[in-house]
């Protein structure tokens, strides 16, 4: 059945329908290799020249019982011949490997969309496990969709019949069969996937490698014959116009890890990264452990508090201390972060937010830790808050956080979220050598050294690391004399130190880029102001609305605290300001409190990202009628 000789993606492309973009969703059991299948489709789409965004939708359980709805794993990709900003409001095409996957994902497919199901998995037991009383393929409940039942299981077994694999192993190839079919549907090249299979399995087990390639090819061949069927088309998604250069895909986790490694190089200072396992923040640690050679030392601490304290100890010792977690872990770190504020040590804290409160929805996304970042500590304890707006931006913001933390001797909290952490997008690889160096200086001169004497410009104290002759000194969490650092209970000193800490953080506003308008005019009827991962849906919504002629602009904040100095004046140029957030209005409250203006919010806390349509509707309701 092998037909690698016809790996021509253009074959059978004669009467394909052209699409500007398409959203494909794969769904199946955790054990079906859904994420791997999605990953391969992503690579194939990137190589086909599309822009894209992907998002995995894992179940919270690691290995839920086979065939159950709570064991369904899904992967969505939005790819196109134009710039892609989100993983897509809804899918145009769903591949469902079992009834549970169909049941939990059908409402995520556009009406009329293509739904390919493995009908070989729709037996009475499979249906029962998914909670179907009657077979949905037969009861007319799926009439609104273009459902194509294919016995993928049987066809896979046939395709790999001569592989010598047992039935269980042979059936494992069905994700590649389905991938082959979807490759045909969208005219993707199979060769890189075939190569990848060879690399992954070939060395260990040639039979498994061959069976998977055979399945891939068989699925593709099946597509060619299906073409004869009504309502089953091939599509063509043209190349996107992307800035030229070398690309790779990047997730938010990758972005932070690579950004911290870059920060180590740019500062010529070791990074010590300490964290405790927590969803969805752990991918950063998993990536960083592979970057030891690049000046990053990792430490899996005994708990969240220890992770923060190890990072603080490392900063005291002369490295760049970084700790990472999600909301519940950040709560535990609160006291330690206060110590870093008090001792005036650099510290980078990454919060990959999830839906809360308490344990909340660990695998779902939210932006509800902004108050925690700003205010979640005892005392007046200001720090700097940044928020990357995409997976690739995590790279940039890891570097920016390091720059501010080391220049101002202050903790910097970086707010990412579950969406940014796991979504992936193509990334034009930057030239790190051309990025500005981050000068880090350690005090050497004992002459006149006072531990809490400040640079008049930045208000930062000197960074004097243990081991430096003549600079032995003590720091601690008890209020320090504003020069010597000795314990001081003097009332005027506490006022002075509180004012210094406040002014130091406020002063960072002079050292960040002025706020720009991402899209649209600098004055107008309505500005949509977002932060973090809402960037994609807001951007697309504003693009669409502007194409319709609506007077709307998009402003996206990446520096949340301190706010850019020009922001208030910028917002004054708009009749209305709308702040969409995946929380109940936290940035909204901050902006209202800062500028005392009646801005409006748009709140969504379902654990799901905003849909483009939701933002469009909110803007329309304010500008039309």
């Amino acid at each position: 059945m092998s037909e690698t000789q016809t790996l021509n993606p253009e074959s059978g492309q004669g009467d394909r329908i052209e699409l500007e973009s398409a959203v494909v969703r794969f769904a199946g059991d955790s054990g079906d290799g859904i994420q791997l299948t999605g990953g391969q489709f992503t690579v194939a789409s990137a190589l086909a020249g599309n822009d894209l965004t992907t998002f995995p939708d894992f179940p919270a359980e690691i290995r839920a019982p086979v065939g159950t709805t709570y064991g369904v794993s899904a992967f969505q990709i939005n790819f196109g011949g134009r710039r892609i900003n989100t993983s897509g409001d809804a899918a145009d095409c769903l591949v469902a490997f079992n009834p549970a996957a169909l049941k939990t994902n059908i409402d995520k497919v556009n009406r009329g969309g293509l739904v390919i199901v493995d009908s070989g998995n729709f037996g009475p037991r499979d249906l029962k496990k998914a909670g179907y009383e009657v077979n949905p393929l037969e009861d007319g409940s799926l009439e609104g969709w273009n459902v194509v039942p294919i016995d993928i299981s049987r066809l896979t077994l046939e395709a790999v019949a001569d592989s010598g694999l047992g039935k269980v192993d042979a059936l494992r190839c069905k994700n590649f069969w389905a991938l082959g079919l979807i490759y045909w549907v969208f005219g993707r090249d199979r060769a890189p996937t075939a190569e990848w299979i060879e690399q992954k399995f070939g060395r260990k087990d040639a039979a498994i490698a061959k069976a998977n390639v055979d399945a891939l090819n068989a699925g593709h061949a099946f597509g060619e014959t299906m073409e004869l069927l009504q309502d089953f088309h091939g599509y063509r998604v043209p190349k996107a116009e992307l800035p030229p250069g070398l690309y790779r895909t990047i997730t938010g986790g990758d972005g932070f890890a690579l950004g911290l490694a870059a920060a180590a190089q740019l500062t010529e200072t070791e990074v010590v990264f300490a964290s405790y396992p927590i969803t969805p923040a752990s991918p950063i640690l998993h990536h960083l452990v592979k970057l030891t050679a690049y000046g990053v030392t990792t430490h899996q601490a005994e708990d969240e508090i220890a992770a923060a304290c190890v990072a603080i100890g490392a900063s005291y010792g002369g490295a760049i201390g970084v700790t990472s977690s999600s909301g519940p872990g950040i709560a535990l770190k609160g006291e330690a972060i206060g110590l870093a504020v008090a001792a005036e040590l650099p510290l980078v804290i990454i919060n990959t937010q999830r839906a809360g409160p308490s344990t909340g929805l660990p695998t779902k996304t939210e932006q509800s830790d902004l108050y925690q970042a700003l205010y979640g500590r005892n005392g007046d304890t200001p720090l700097v808050v940044l928020a990357p707006n995409s997976p690739a931006d995590c790279f940039t913001m890891a570097i920016e956080a390091t720059r501010i933390a080391t220049k101002y001797m202050v903790p910097v909290m970086v707010l990412s979220d579950g969406y940014i952490a796991n979504a992936s997008e193509p990334w034009l690889i930057p030239d790190v050598d051309s990025l500005p160096r981050i000068p880090v200086t350690f005090r050497q001169d004992p002459e006149g050294y006072l531990p809490f004497k400040r640079d008049p410009d930045t208000l930062a104290r000197d960074w004097a690391k243990p081991g430096t002759p003549g600079l032995a000194h003590r720091v601690g969490g008890i209020e320090r004399d504003s020069e010597t650092g000795d314990i001081s209970y003097d009332p005027a000193n506490h006022q002075r130190m509180t004012d210094f800490r406040h002014a130091k953080v406020a002063g960072v506003a002079r050292d960040i880029p002025p706020q720009t308008v991402d899209q649209g005019k600098e004055r107008g009827r309505l500005a949509v102001v977002g932060w973090g991962s809402t960037y994609g849906p807001i951007k697309r919504a504003v693009t669409n609305l502007r194409a319709e002629g609506l007077d709307v602009s998009h402003i996206h904040l990446r520096h949340i605290w301190p706010l850019p100095e020009n922001l208030g004046a910028l917002l004054d140029g708009f009749d209305q300001v709308l702040v969409p957030e995946m929380n109940t209005g936290q940035l909204l409250t901050l902006l209202r409190a800062t500028y005392a203006k009646p801005y409006e919010g748009l709140s969504k806390v379902t654990g799901q990202p905003f849909k483009i349509a939701e933002i469009e509707a909110a803007v329309r309701s304010r500008l039309e009628g």
């Binding site: 690309y247 010590v272 508090i305 603080i312 201390g321 690391k465 243990p466 003590r474």
Partner: protein
């Protein structure tokens, strides 16, 4: 302010700061401070490479009084901060000062983990069996029945034994001393500093205000002969003679059991040859010695256990060295291009 030059001969004063020491008059902490300063002077320690890290509590004010680098952190977390200091710079000589509440209650978890990782530090746990700084509440080491501001009718919770906790966590150096063993304490501290790895030292410390004289019977000048024993590696476990008197008792394994027993020299034909010789590399013996309490047994002081094991600092360093060896090009530009990449040609390409 601090002269960078190290004089040929150092005195304890060279390690003292200009800060007024604020412990209660008569507090056992003073003697410990003096002893540590003396040890560092005797060992000609480089104060610029010495760091004291503490948590919260009376004992944790210690770093302010040491003219070395010092970090007074937050309650219970000194071991974690110290681990970070060592990860940034393994060359530093890092001492952790903690107490029974700080180290065994709020910070118990960190204590366990710095020990099991074997981070090359010295942990001085000042055990006064009470919370001093918060005004006298029962602590995790308070004996059952301790009357305190939080347990007026006497505490009901069983106490932790710091040495057992440390050994349970896998400590490779365990010692016990007391504020009142002014002559003996420096040798214990020196041994702790010389040990590569995490050295755990329990220091019985008298809180004169809230828990006075809990250790009075078996520590210091007024100690009752027979209530304490100073153990030394390779020497028989003899005691009971009082200060400057020859010993009259010994410790041996009770025949037919796994227990220790106290024997009197010269009684029932017992001689020094029947007495156990202290082997600090024997963890079982260390456990038995640590568990000895009155009135049937003397309380053991000295280095109870020491046996080298791989040190966290070295493992981290060799991991780094291996990674560098395996990665010929450590530029970030090379790193970013690793794995699957693709070229997007410009328009007209």
């Amino acid at each position: 302010m601090n002269a960078p030059t190290t004089p040929a001969k150092l005195t304890p004063k060279d390690f003292a700061t200009d800060q007024e020491v604020r412990w209660c008059p008569g507090c056992g902490d003073y003697a410990i401070l003096k002893s540590v300063q003396k040890v560092l002077a005797d060992l000609k320690a480089d104060k610029d490479k010495t760091v004291f890290v503490s948590g919260i509590g009376c004992s944790s004010r210690f770093p302010y009084y040491m003219d070395t680098y010092g970090f007074h952190t937050i309650h219970g977390r000194a071991p974690a901060v110290a681990t970070g200091v060592k990860m940034a710079n393994p060359e530093l000589d890092v001492w952790i000062v903690t107490g029974d509440g700080d180290g065994l209650s709020i910070g118990g978890n960190h204590l366990l983990h710095i020990i099991r990782r074997n981070v090359d530090t010295q942990i001085l746990l000042f055990n006064n069996e009470i919370y001093g700084l918060t005004k006298g509440q029962a602590s995790p080491t308070s004996a059952i029945g301790t009357r305190s501001s939080s347990t007026p009718e006497g505490s009901v919770d069983a106490p932790l034994d710091p040495i057992k906790v440390a050994m349970g966590a896998g400590a490779r150096f365990v010692a016990r001393t007391a504020d009142k063993w002014i002559k003996e304490m420096p040798d214990v501290l020196k041994a702790a500093r010389e040990h590569r790895g995490c050295a755990f030292v329990e220091i019985l410390q008298n809180c004169i205000v809230y828990n006075d004289a809990v250790f009075g019977e078996f520590t210091g000048k007024e100690a009752v002969p027979g209530t304490y024993i100073h153990v030394e590696h390779g020497k028989p476990l003899l005691f009971g003679g009082g200060r400057n008197e020859p010993p009259v008792k010994g410790i041996r394994v009770k025949p037919g059991t796994f227990k220790l027993e106290v024997v009197t020299l010269g009684e029932n034909g017992i001689s020094e040859a029947d007495v156990l010789v202290h082997d600090k590399t024997d963890p079982v013996l260390a456990g038995l010695l640590a568990a000895m309490t009155g009135p049937d047994f003397p309380v053991a002081f000295g280095v109870l256990y020491e046996d080298a094991a791989p040190v966290h600092d070295d493992s981290v360093a060799s991991h780094k060295a291996d990674a560098r060896k395996k990665t010929p090009d450590v530029s970030i530009n090379a790193l970013l291009k690793r794995g699957r990449t693709w070229m997007v040609e410009g328009p007209g390409a």
